[in-house]
Amino acid sequence: MDAAIKLENVKKTLGRREVLKGISFTVARGDIFGYLGPNGAGKTTTIRILLGLLRTDSGKLDIMGQDISRSETRKRIGFALDPDGLYDNMTAEENLEFYARIYGLSDYGKQIAGLLEAMGLSDRSKDRVGTYSKGMRQRLALARAMTHDPEVLVLDEPTAGVDPSGQMEVRQIILDAAHKRNKTVFLSSHNLDEVQRICNRIALIDRGEIKLYGETETLRRGMGGGKVTIDTAGDIPQALLDDLKKRPQLGFREFKNRTLLFSPQEGTDISDIISILAGRGIKIEGAARQEASLEEMYSAILKEVEPS
């Protein structure tokens, strides 16, 4: 895997609290990497370390194969943080011009106009940012992140506080950045649905430890085949229910209101369940399969690590 971001056994203690307890993960070039975790898990600390705002106590961090303490490396990263750090008394154009000049760009007029156009902010580019809605601010923050055309984007909760239509716009911008502009995206979010929709790889951090890491689809499949519900025409004999319980691959959970609920293991197909039931003379009126969601994975993992 050609790594854009690589953390190896990174530890960080703030005050007396060990915020990161030796975390490791790799973000491949071109990934949209979702970084999940509850409040206080260590997400912000990780982002600050990625941006060179905090130093690691131990461990190794590479961004595009370089040390983050080098200013050349920081030029290869764009960021949108929470809070956004935009200057309220300046216009959108002035904010972007300022950052373009910080990154040493000289001919930035077209680049800025193009970004404002792509973010749908052209008609408000001369307005002060203080008059912008949260969604507009987030889009402007994303534009700022891309002003100097960096290879890696580090985005901290880019849709937090944004209304649903604004969230969709921001998501599309992130997807375009990754697919059309070839950026690697590191996205921290609380929004599991968002991460599931756009991230191809995820890591889940809790209490300073990575609890889950890998490709979103693989992880989801590894959690089992989701849920299978089968509606029957009548009651099921207890002997059959006992028999279903004895087959762990089926993951039989309950029979309620003439509906059987299963959480089958990987490799078990809905047709396997149906053929068993049909073979025992059960009349089936309907069957449905629901894939395991990231939300289920998330709650299952956090439940596992909760202290008893």
Binding site: L14, R48, L51, G52, L53, L54, R55, S71, E72, R74, K75, I77, F79, L81, D82, P83, D84, G85, L86, Y87, D88, N89, M90, E94, F98, Y99, R101, I102, Y103, R128
Partner: protein
């Protein structure tokens, strides 16, 4: 240097758009300076001019103190208003973290932010010092004893007072950026009334000859002391401290 100018200019532009705050600050500064000049003229200059023998040296002392205090008020009130406000706002709204995540050097950001608050005060202070020098001369001295001016008056009023506040701006920003802006603000709030009244009294009561070198040298010494404290604390200035104190 290019980075420092860029950040300072942008910060000043951002600050100067806070029109109500600027209007109130200028009104307060003008009120203070006019009150100071009027009080000095009524209580010291006018009686000295009416004496049988005019003591020109005493007049130079009064004028130096007026010029020096006018500059100090311009610089001091400006810093009282903007240093705390700017640091608090920029830290809480993420402007500072965003700047630190760029390739910029943390010391350049510190210097630029200090200059952004200092420079408008410098311009205002120098203008007030110049206006008070000319006004008092033409209202009181020119008809009787001519235009009064000494090189030491220029050093105290136009150089030493600004140097003190340059050092103070760097020091207060260092403290405010790496800790709580309110701590820096307390220093600024206390410094102006305490230091200005101390120096005015030392000058007027001839403990330090305000029209000559002792007053100017003492002020430059104070500026140097503040600068040395700033240099000693410079190692505190790290991205980590700034970010964690935000």
């Amino acid at each position: 240097m290019r980075d420092i100018i860029l950040i300072a200019a942008t910060s000043m532009k951002n600050n100067l758009r806070l029109k109500i705050i600027i209007a109130v600050s200028i009104a307060v500064i003008l009120l203070c300076v006019v009150a100071l000049i009027v009080a000095f003229c009524i209580l010291a200059v006018a009686p000295a001019m009416e004496a049988e023998t005019i003591d020109v040296h005493a007049l130079k002392v009064y004028l130096t103190v007026i010029v020096y205090s006018s500059c100090l008020i311009g610089l001091g009130v400006n810093m009282n208003v903007f240093a705390f406000q700017t640091m608090t706002r920029e830290k809480s709204r993420g402007n500072m973290a965003a700047l630190l995540a760029t390739p910029l050097d943390v010391r350049r950001i510190w210097i630029a932010k200090s200059l952004a608050v200092y420079l408008p005060g410098l311009i205002l202070g120098e203008m007030l010092a110049l206006i008070s020098l000319i006004a008092v001369n033409y209202v009181y001295f020119v008809p009787e004893v001519g235009f009064l001016f000494t090189p030491w008056m220029a050093v105290s009023g136009f150089l030493a007072a600004p140097l003190i506040y340059l050092g103070l701006s760097l020091l207060v920003h260092l403290i405010g950026l790496t800790g709580k802006p309110a701590t820096g603000n307390v220093i600024v709030q206390v410094f102006l009334p305490v230091f200005a009244s101390l120096m005015i009294n030392l000058g007027v009561h001839n403990v330090l000859d305000a029209a000559s070198w002792p007053f100017a040298v003492t002020n430059i010494g104070v500026a140097l002391t503040i600068a040395v404290i700033g240099v000693m604390l410079r190692s505190r200035l790290t991205k980590e401290r700034i970010v964690l104190s935000s």
